[in-house]
Symmetry: C2
Subunit: 244 residues, 2 copies
Amino acid sequence: MTVTSVHDPSHREALWELEDAFDRGDLISIFGRCTIVYEGRAATDLGTGDRLLVLKPDGAALVHTDEGHRPVNWQPPGSEHRAAVREGRLRVRSTRNNPDETLTVRFSDVHRLTAMAVTGGRDLTLHGSEEDLRTRILEQPELVEPGFEPTATERPSSAGPMDVFGVDADGNPVVVELKRRRVGPDAVGQLARYVRALREELGAEERDRTVRGVLVAPSITDRAAERLSDRGFDHVALEPTAEE
Amino acid sequence: MTVTSVHDPSHREALWELEDAFDRGDLISIFGRCTIVYEGRAATDLGTGDRLLVLKPDGAALVHTDEGHRPVNWQPPGSEHRAAVREGRLRVRSTRNNPDETLTVRFSDVHRLTAMAVTGGRDLTLHGSEEDLRTRILEQPELVEPGFEPTATERPSSAGPMDVFGVDADGNPVVVELKRRRVGPDAVGQLARYVRALREELGAEERDRTVRGVLVAPSITDRAAERLSDRGFDHVALEPTAEE
DNA sequence: CTATCGATTTCGCAC
DNA sequence: GTGCGAAGTCGATAG
């Protein structure tokens, strides 16, 4: 069978199972009572409690409590898991370099250890991303405004690549910044950087007011709208995918 | 015992165990072969594969493969889990409103279902955050520069609250933006917004060049340094916690 | 509720 | 490796 599981093992039994599972490259879950110490980019301490520890063969480690989407402690992929029994207790330690980080889980009780061989089945297809929004605009440029013609995507500039670049009906250059969801002031700043870079690039013959900025997003906060208006930019309300 | 676990249950047995675990408010882990459909802010499809499904009593749902720190699919806390057997197969569905989102996991095989009652033990203490950096500066303002005197934290402005506000040795107002790690151009934009808001606020008598901007961060990218210098702002290299 | 911003953000891609 | 920006970001706090 591809799944092994032990109930209330001794700390030594748990260690053996764990090392076997490491060797097999299994996905591992451990229910147990433990304390946790993390030291790296930041540092945390977590006292005794019942938790779920997940160990992945790619080096990822996750500690979950009964609450929350995100693990209370973790270690990213690329870390190295090691297990040992110290003072009669199972200790699992996951370390990585650059930055140097260590996650240490000390068990007082191991309730259930389960391991399963898992490969493949990771090919997720996602719809509704910013890239979908870009595709939609390239296929129907008039959604931005009548007469708009995209000429490039990811056009380079000194401020970084612009999402979409093109010309309007009057031949003015247009910088388009895309956001898949409602935006705040930061997105306006981003657009402004690109517009400014392009204005400097185009130089004297095509002066400031010819380069336009357009923010394409489903909606926009008041403060962002204000900053957008200050800069003389436009907002076009558009979602990544058409409503059905 | 606080942990229940079943091995290779029938789909109906799995359903019973799952419903019992829901009733008890357990933290649940299911190893099994399944397909996954998500529909909400975006939409995803994931074909058949072996995965770990974690269901929490607060409504969070996580689907993990053998790779990565983040779940391949998930549902945030506050969702509602429901289980059923459809066409002889266990189906777990987690839904929430605002936004409307649904995660559906259809099992072809349930290898191992484990559930544990978990409460408490969630009081994490963390060190090395931006707040620690602020505390450090308030205790030793000379780390920013000789003669600097902080007068407020989270000082409100039309652009939002400033991390630290104060005056320099010459009596000039200083806006300080804190970052716990290396920063890019976005942080300069954030600082610039605060400085601009303060300049407008102070009005005519204390004109532009009197309001200073200081970015406190361990380090800074070249592009960010350039933008900082364009604006006439300063960078102070400082970490959230003192080196030991 | 919405808006804003931090985060051990993670993740992916380009240079 | 670093830099940059997206993400179904999440999460916490203030209004």
